[in-house]
């Protein structure tokens, strides 16, 4: 086989695919063929590079050039210039927003500089649909090592020493979980991979499954060996068709290569994996609910204990781990617990993947060592706040987490620090909010979510969250009272104390944390009937400032209901009776004369 001298890696993650990355691949292939270079250049569809903000991404090896926002029609240019003449297409390079310089290499981009990729190590590096590429980057070596050189107990010991904690939200030590499941004697045991990523604004598990599915399969087999299970299930959202497709290919290939199935590495150990589809229920991220759903029933949680480690799937001992947790395991086995232990902080070892989104310049998937500050993630990696606005809060942990105010950005990211300020690590969603976001409205958004997603089993969660939502609704409509704020706290604490599962125990967090850090904003809503960020429609008012208005008529032109009157070059006035508070005039005014008092 002839060796390719150039590899064009094109991101095939969901984000880039929805921006025509498949068409780019086709265009590149046909262009290469037209020019007679198809034997010299390999076009590879990879997993997510993480820099979703500027997708679709193309990375060129071995020159290490990183192209962004590529369109199918750019294929011709890339082939004619880069492939044939070795000239970099400057227009497609990334430009650092802070010092306006084009950057050629991925490693030089500030987005990647502070990152350390363990779980995402192969995303963007290999073709996820080709098992040999995974094997080339040490894939299945960890499984081979475990099966030929280690006893199950030693594997568990190694995991315990590494200090790896579950990446799905709870942060329970993985080695300990394996040990508990291993201790329970039973002929049948199960490994389940929790790929029911339901947090709104989180997509790291999906990216791992799309970009490096084999790492999860390998780790599940290792876990199976450690606890004595021969069967694994991946419980995955049906809304992730691409991840399902890649997993199916990966499982089939692994079976063909004898890396899943009977008597792996001639050790007598059998292991196989099956997919189970979720059907859109947030509560199924909770492990007992997930098990009920794998069994084909309603995904309602059970009381713990008994833990799944004792009585799990089909009443047998079961170990449930999250996708990202699994992705960390092969490198730990190969490089050792000491190597892993050096990364991160005292009680939170290793790295964490975050889905950075919201009002930040570089939206994308980032993996950083634990202990890095929020500030570094948002300003260094994320490139700061969009449109030079002011950062107001960062939400971590999704509907179970809380909002961290701007003055607490120096806090290091780890399980315990985040908990101490009323938020949590969660699965890794990180939403940045700026001065235009209303915190009351944000907590209402999350409550709307939990109200709908509550399975209904426990009264405090089913009815309590509905009441919380109703109170917040009242406040945003301008009908709230100061007593409502106390009610939110009392009710919130009560729901946390009396709910059965993680959903109810954490659902009031968004309300409680915003109440603590943004109390003044709540006060403004209930006392002055005013929404400072101008989001809550019912409380919005628009006026035109007498000093600033120059009478340019821009506002009157865009007003959809013609409620702005005034002669050209004279001050304009908004008629509040007709105004529908759409904000078009606010956006249109170039003199900041339209104000939200």
């Amino acid at each position: 086989m002839k060796k390719y001298r150039l590899h064009l890696m094109i991101c095939g993650g969901t984000g880039c695919q929805s921006q025509d990355s498949n068409e780019i691949i086709q265009a590149l292939r046909s262009e290469l063929q037209k020019k007679g270079y198809e034997d010299e250049v390999q076009v590879v569809k990879t997993g997510c590079f993480g820099f979703c903000e500027k997708g679709p991404i193309i990375k060129v090896h071995p020159d290490n050039v990183f192209y962004i926002e590529v369109k199918p029609q750019d294929a011709e240019r890339i082939v004619a210039e880069h492939v044939i003449k070795g000239r970099i297409v400057k227009e497609l390079l990334y430009e650092e927003p802070t010092y306006h310089e084009k950057v050629e290499h991925q490693g030089d981009m500030s987005f990647y500089k502070k990152q350390l990729r363990i779980a995402l190590r192969n995303c963007g590096l290999i073709n996820p649909e080709n098992i040999e590429e995974y094997i080339a980057v040490d894939g299945y070596l960890a499984l081979g090592k475990v099966l030929t050189e280690m006893k199950p107990k030693e594997v568990i010991e190694l995991m315990k020493e590494s200090g790896l904690r579950g990446r799905g939200g709870g942060g329970f030590p993985t080695g300990r979980k394996w040990e508990l499941t291993a201790q329970n004697e039973s002929k049948l045991k199960f490994i389940i991979c929790n790929a029911d990523e339901g947090d709104p604004g989180a997509f790291m598990d999906r990216s791992i499954l799309e970009g490096d599915p084999h790492s999860v399969l390998e780790a599940m087999a290792i876990a199976g060996y450690a606890i004595g299970a021969e069967k694994g299930y991946i419980y995955i959202r049906a809304e992730y068709p691409l991840a399902i497709h890649r997993l199916n290919i990966a499982i089939e290939q692994a079976r063909k290569y004898g890396l899943l199935g009977k008597n792996l590495f001639d050790s007598g150990f059998n292991f196989d994996i099956e997919l189970k589809y979720g059907a859109g229920a947030f509560v199924c991220g909770e492990e007992t609910a997930l098990i009920n759903s794998v069994e084909g029933g309603r995904g309602e949680p059970n009381a713990k204990p008994p833990f799944p480690a004792e009585i799990g799937l089909w009443n047998e001992p079961t170990c449930v781990n999250n996708v990202e947790t699994f992705a960390n395991i092969p490198p730990i086995i190969l490089k050792g617990s000491e190597w892993f232990g050096k990364i991160g902080t005292e009680n939170s070892k290793g790295t964490k993947v975050f889905a950075l989104a919201g009002k930040v310049n570089n939206v994308g998937l980032v993996e950083v060592p634990m202990g890095v500050s929020l500030k570094d993630i948002i300003y260094e990696i994320g490139g700061g706040i969009r449109n030079d606005k002011k950062l107001k809060a960062v939400q971590t942990g999704g509907p179970s987490g809380g909002c961290i105010p701007a003055d607490k950005l120096d806090i290091p990211i780890d399980y315990d620090s985040l908990k101490s300020i009323g938020s949590m690590m969660g699965s890794g969603g990180m939403i940045v909010m700026d001065e235009d976001d209303c915190m009351v409205n944000i907590s209402k958004f999350y409550l709307e979510f939990t109200e709908e997603e509550s399975c209904g089993k426990c009264t405090p969660c089913r009815i309590g969250n509905k009441r919380l939502h109703e109170i917040l609704e009242r406040i945003t409509m301008g009908e709230g009272t100061i007593e409502d704020l106390d009610r939110l706290v009392v009710l919130g604490e009560m729901i946390k104390d009396s709910s059965l599962c993680g959903l109810g125990q954490t659902s009031p967090n968004p309300v409680l944390s915003t109440l603590e850090y943004f109390h003044e904003e709540y006060n403004q809503h209930v006392v002055h009937k005013h929404c400072p960020s101008g989001v809550c429609k019912a409380l919005k008012k628009y006026q035109i400032s007498e000093e600033k208005c120059v009478g340019c008529t821009a506002c009157a032109k865009v007003c959809p209901v013609d409620c702005i009157s005034g002669e050209p070059k004279k001050r304009h006035v908004i008629d509040p009776k007709i105004c529908i508070k759409c904000g078009a005039c606010f956006e249109a005014c170039r003199f900041n004369a339209v104000v939200r008092p």
Partner: protein, 167 residues
């Protein structure tokens, strides 16, 4: 005359439905284990029929040896399953947090007004079904609107008209 025409149409529909049931039955027959397969079968059922009407639910219940109540309990529990028919085109507006802070709710309001339906509803002519979906994971493109499989990113309220016109 009118009567026979209608009769023919009904017959044809029944044949079509029959084929669908056959496909479903085939799928169930090839399952290795029927225990725990309910959600899997419901996914297939929805794929074949487009939705899960009462008859299909009962059919599945019988085929798997479950009660109709159990099947309905599962169908109504999960967001993904629906027992109402969908319009020709499915419009999904992502309501994940990233899209929310970038104005997904404004898009929803505008479409609700434009199509004269609420989220979850289908237009009278059966052309569009409008849904709010959980995070589709394309947060880099927020706010996101999907029409069937086509994803539109960074959508502004004014652009919705044009998007609808394309479908």
């Amino acid at each position: 005359m009118q009567h026979t025409k209608l009769q023919k149409k009904n017959d044809r529909q029944q044949v079509l439905a029959g084929e669908k049931y056959e496909a479903l039955q085939q799928f169930i027959d090839q399952l290795e284990e029927k225990e725990g397969a309910l959600i899997h079968v419901l996914h297939k059922g929805q794929e074949i029929f487009g939705y899960l009407p009462r008859d299909v639910q009962l059919y599945i219940a019988r085929a798997l040896g479950l009660s109709g109540a159990k099947v309905y309990g599962v169908v109504s529990f999960y967001n993904y399953f629906t027992d109402k028919p969908r319009g020709e085109k499915l419009i999904n507006i992502c309501t994940g947090t990233a899209c929310f802070v970038k104005g997904a709710n404004l898009l929803m309001e505008e479409l609700e007004e434009k199509l004269k339906i609420k989220a979850g509803g289908t237009t009278e002519d059966g052309k569009y079904t409008l849904n709010a979906v959980r995070c589709v994971g394309a947060c880099g493109l927020a706010p996101v609107v999907m029409v069937d499989d086509k994803v539109y990113g960074r959508v502004k309220p004014g652009e919705l008209e044009e998007i609808l016109n394309q479908h």
